[in-house]
Point group: C2
Chain length 211, copies 2
Amino acid sequence: MTGLRERKKQRTRDALVVAAHELFVTQGYDTTTVDQIAEAVDVSQRTFFRYFTNKEEVALFVQDMVEACFYEAVCTEPPGTPPLECLRRTLNDVWDEVGRAVEEIVPLDLHLKMCQVVETTPSLLAAHLRHSLLMEEKLVQEIARRTGVGAEVDPRPRVLVAAFSGVMRTAARQWGMREGTSLETAREVTRDYVAQLGPALTGDWGRERRP
Amino acid sequence: MTGLRERKKQRTRDALVVAAHELFVTQGYDTTTVDQIAEAVDVSQRTFFRYFTNKEEVALFVQDMVEACFYEAVCTEPPGTPPLECLRRTLNDVWDEVGRAVEEIVPLDLHLKMCQVVETTPSLLAAHLRHSLLMEEKLVQEIARRTGVGAEVDPRPRVLVAAFSGVMRTAARQWGMREGTSLETAREVTRDYVAQLGPALTGDWGRERRP
DNA sequence: GAGCGTAATGACAGTCACTGACAATTGACA
DNA sequence: TGTCAATTGTCAGTGACTGTCATTACGCTC
């Protein structure tokens, strides 16, 4: 199953991801050319485009994996849990696994820095949002499946996932703008934000910060 | 104030928007080149890029205006309204004005078709999502202002706007996939989806469609 | 209404992301 | 070891976008 060919490909792909991350983090996304990435790994530009359909993809490779990781975790959640609770609980439990999965490809620190690059680079942020949308659709299907509610006739699965994802994105964004970015702070911020979903929707906001 | 120079520029810009819309709608976004758009209006490609920083911008010009329109409407809402109610009410009231504003630039029908093109064209959808994010941030500031809650210390403004915007985007998306796309159906679908925000978050989803 | 300053445009060359085609290389497997 | 198929490099081409400079056109003054 793991012939030399496979392993070589895997190594090239990983090397491209790591090299790209290092270049993006140090000199910025827009100012890094595909040629530079390819050269760093000593392959031709054409080969780069055989591994990644475009420049964005190599930048979002790890993030996509993280989101896929979250989706998988949601799918393994025990049935019968109320949908919002299911998402919230998964979110809280999945961080360690995410950390491990990331480390298999790039140093965790590099990935966290890359998250900030994504947030601050318009074209990259745009692509990231679109990728997230695809994952949202998968989540919708899963929520619909586990609640027995048809996503095509009842808007609630979509509405729930949209609200939840919107809040998570916001949390990620706010976290990315902080100084100390670690998995721990990310977990805290997202947990915090999601917890505010209910209070934020009800009109009676007190005058002081959440009690 | 409106010298010949200004009016001429305005006319060129509008002509570019209309020509671009027609081309995008008939042959698709990716298959339309900037040269074609410029040629249709009889200006050089360079001039096109003096009016719009990139190809996406001309495609999203009207949509951006619509979102700005919504934002303005939120700002003129009477103070004291609970924030979610404020957004919901504005959303319901603003449609006619939006229709009028759009018609000043492109035929409404063309715009509605363009919305579908945006939803179905990955790169364009990505750009659209990013633009929406900018508008969300403005909304956050406005909500924070009118509730006297600091957006930098209390997550609720961001959480509320994120949830609301997420649901609106979902509604727009679902609407765009329908057959009969009119302002009326758009109003209905969005109103419908936003109304489901509360029910979707509570765990006790009934087995049948919303009663 | 002639002339001057400035804004708008066109023409051109160049960069970079991305693609198709074809030839060269290399692992897999008989 | 030889053959097949997958992987890669090279090259040429397209299209989005940018900087530069010469040209045109507007607006304003005298």
